[in-house]
């Protein structure tokens, strides 16, 4: 267990970093989750809007990125304006995004042939400034690329989400590498807990076997 962090020391550190970065972090707009345990841990009480965020799935989610996509959709849904979603593999199912709150009219999908095209289009989307959020499904994200994206997001105030999705499970170790993203998330699925009652419908063997 980690010792509890000294809040004063942390605040001082943040102040120093702000001075180094040359811009005030205080006034930066954030996007709160509305979930206290999460917001309380984020500086400013939410996801900074003008920044790049990294999301990846855990376990098999590193390859399919299903839960991570829904997380990204949920974040993007709470911004205003259109959302650009860049993919290399067109296997996203739009009704699921709609169920996560991201309405069909708001999402513009872009199918790039490779990671390079997707990154370039992602950056273009972040730089434009008219979008609410831009999401890109990419495997490799280098420090240089992420810094470009982060600067583009800062300049325009658009929320950027890099949804990391790999071809093979072994490639997913890449997720530990340092990038310029403001936050980094790993979204995993958990086994569900059974209801205390058998349910209101006809008993099925699926849940009891």
């Amino acid at each position: 267990m980690r010792p509890p962090a000294n809040p004063i020391a942390i605040a001082q550190l943040r102040e120093r970093i702000e001075r180094l970065e040359g811009r005030p972090a205080r006034g930066r707009p954030v996007l709160p989750f509305g979930v206290r345990p999460m917001d309380a841990r984020l500086p400013g009480g939410g996801l900074p809007r003008a920044a790049l965020h990294e999301v990846a799935g855990g376990g098999a989610g590193a390859i399919d990125g299903a839960a991570a996509a829904l997380f990204a959709a949920g974040v993007a849904a709470r911004t205003r304006g259109k959302v650009l979603w860049c993919v290399t593999r067109a296997d996203l199912f739009a009704p699921a995004l709609s169920q996560a709150g991201l309405k069909a009219d708001r999402v513009i999908y872009l199918e790039g042939g490779d990671d390079k095209t997707v990154l370039a289009c992602f950056e273009e989307g972040l730089r434009h400034g008219g979008l609410g959020a831009a999401v890109a499904e990419i495997a490799r994200l280098t420090m240089t690329a992420s810094r470009r994206l982060q600067l583009a997001a800062e300049g325009s105030g658009t929320l950027g989400i890099a949804l990391r999705r790999w071809r093979r499970q072994t490639d997913a170790t890449d997720f530990g590498q340092p990038t310029a993203a403001a936050t980094r998330w790993r979204v995993s699925v958990l086994p569900s807990t059974p209801l205390p009652v058998p349910g209101v419908g006809r008993a099925r063997c699926g849940s009891s076997s």
């Binding site: 999908y109 872009l110 199918e111 289009c121 273009e124 008219g130 979008l131 699925v189």
Partner: protein, 508 residues
């Protein structure tokens, strides 16, 4: 490397006559020929449709002979001027849809410089296929080929395309070699003299030394061979309709640096926008043609989702493509044309002080669409269908927002496979979910399941779907991964489906 598309319309005159006649046209299996005068007196067949050719009629045959040979032959007067006009109209249509450099290739073809334009249509093969299909849908029999040079594309379209043909870059000569001499675009008497000498294929001529040919037949043969090999340029003179809004700049000194090209693009765009503004138009498609000193042309084509007259945005779209222009030894003339235009009236942007406008993203959409191709940028719209893969359709990114959503509260997976993947299962029939399943070589135990959600086939679409059924289950394995699987069929009646199991999607 340049890429040239040649479209061959073998029966353009008869197709035109049928199209103009509309409902009164003779049925497709009635032989139709067009006749015209040759020289002073003789009336000969100038065009024959597929049915007439099948009946043994040939172009150049006396009309009376044709009439005697085929019963029920429909004969009409040829009108070469109308044919040429139809060809020009077709070329114009392709100019608006395919690429900025298009020319009629009389008497029976159209040539298009498609360099750098194919990715906007989904690749070269797709470009040709759509082109031929579109022509066929308006009743024009067409074949098309793409190659490095005009000569090769011309030959392949006429002698190899079935109905389309793609010659790989650098393979033009090898692809053309097995074709007959007639594919070389030579005068007919020269072709027959060569055949008398025993040269049947282009490859035969290519293998021989050049000098004796020149002595005997003159330079024409050598010129055509050089054109196919790409040693001799064959510029395409693009058609320009009278109403086209076009601006041009000629340079005293040829330019080559990317920066200089960008600067001149800016000046051209400013002039074009002035011209568009005077007419109250906005551009939907723009073509920039750079004529090089070696008489080759480089073309850039950009499209926009909405009519556009904003100089800054047009410049941005074109500048994005500067790296695709190969200036060679220098560019001496640049022309910029608004190929497709639409009325664009000045618009009130903010109608009230309190209304919060959604930012305009059409500029970004144009930029990205020109980079990845129009068909790779889309929105998803709901379709009223229970079959999951049919419940979405792609629409243009700037299509009108309808606010429609998918109905129903059934959970849908975040990832849906284009093609359901077969899985091996251990399941109790008919209405239980599997207890185990094996997917991609990994055996998983099913912890929990929910279902079935029965989806019936859409009998109004295809007959075999009349009684087809899919039973969808949501299942969860040990690790908590949730999958969407279905069984083809209801598990009882083999007519409703094979009873095999498939994994169709993954829930988040």
């Amino acid at each position: 490397m340049a890429r040239v598309v040649s479209v061959f319309l073998p029966t353009l005159p008869t197709d035109r006559v049928r199209r103009q006649a509309g409902d009164a046209a003779p049925s497709p299996d009635t032989p139709l020929v067009l006749v015209g005068r040759e020289g002073r007196r003789r009336v000969v067949v100038t065009a024959a449709d597929a049915a007439a050719v099948a009946a043994g009629l040939r172009v150049g045959m006396p009309a009376t002979k044709a009439q005697a040979l085929v019963k029920g032959l429909v004969i009409q007067d040829a009108d070469p001027a109308a044919d040429a006009e139809a060809l020009d109209r077709l070329a114009l249509w392709m100019l608006q849809r395919v690429a900025p450099i298009v020319a009629a290739d009389p008497p029976d073809g159209i040539v298009i410089d498609s360099t750098g334009a194919d990715h906007l249509h989904g690749g070269e093969a797709a470009l040709l296929a759509t082109l031929v299909e579109k022509l066929l849908s308006v009743g024009l029999n067409a074949r098309a080929a793409i190659a490095d040079v005009w000569g090769a594309a011309h030959a392949l379209a006429r002698f190899r395309a079935q109905p389309t043909d793609v010659s790989a870059p650098g393979e033009a000569v090898a692809d053309v070699a097995p074709l007959p001499i007639a594919a070389l675009r030579l005068p007919p008497d020269l072709v027959s003299s060569l055949r008398v000498l025993g040269f049947d294929r282009i490859g035969d001529v290519l293998a021989e030394p050049r000098a004796p040919f020149v002595l005997r037949f003159g330079p024409e043969l050598g010129r055509r061979l050089d054109q196919i090999a790409g040693r001799l340029a064959e510029p395409i003179e693009p058609i320009r309709p009278a109403a086209l809004i076009e601006v041009r700049r000629a340079f005293g000194e040829p330019i080559g640096a990317a920066e200089t090209i960008r600067r001149h693009i800016g000046k051209l765009v400013a002039a074009l926008c002035d011209a568009l503004e005077r007419k109250g138009l906005g551009a939907r498609r723009l073509g920039l043609i750079c004529h090089r000193v070696d008489s080759r042309a480089q073309a850039v084509r950009v499209g926009t989702g909405l009519p556009l007259r904003d100089a800054r945005r047009i410049t941005r779209l074109l500048s994005d493509k500067v790296e695709t222009i190969d200036p060679g030894f220098g560019i001496e003339i640049m022309t910029l044309a608004a190929i497709v235009t639409e009325p664009l009236a000045p618009k009130h942007t903010a109608s009230s002080l309190v209304e919060d406008l959604e930012p305009d993203v059409s500029g970004l959409v144009d930029l990205l669409a020109n980079r990845v191709g129009e068909r790779n940028l889309y929105r998803m719209a709901p379709v009223a269908s229970d079959v999951p893969e049919r419940s979405v359709r792609r629409i243009a990114p700037l299509a009108i927002e309808t606010g429609e959503e998918w109905r129903g509260d059934w959970p849908r997976p975040a990832r849906l496979f284009a093609r359901p993947e077969p899985i091996d299962t251990v399941a109790l029939l008919p209405d239980h979910p599997p207890a185990f399943f094996t997917w991609r070589g990994v055996r998983r135990k099913v912890r929990r399941a929910d279902g079935p959600e029965r989806v019936f086939g859409e009998w109004w679409k295809r007959d075999p779907e009349l009684i087809a059924v899919r039973d969808y289950f949501r299942i969860e394995d040990d690790a908590g991964e949730r999958y969407w699987i279905f069984r083809a069929g209801d598990g009882e009646d083999p007519l409703t489906g094979s009873g095999r199991w498939f994994l169709h999607g993954i829930f988040g």
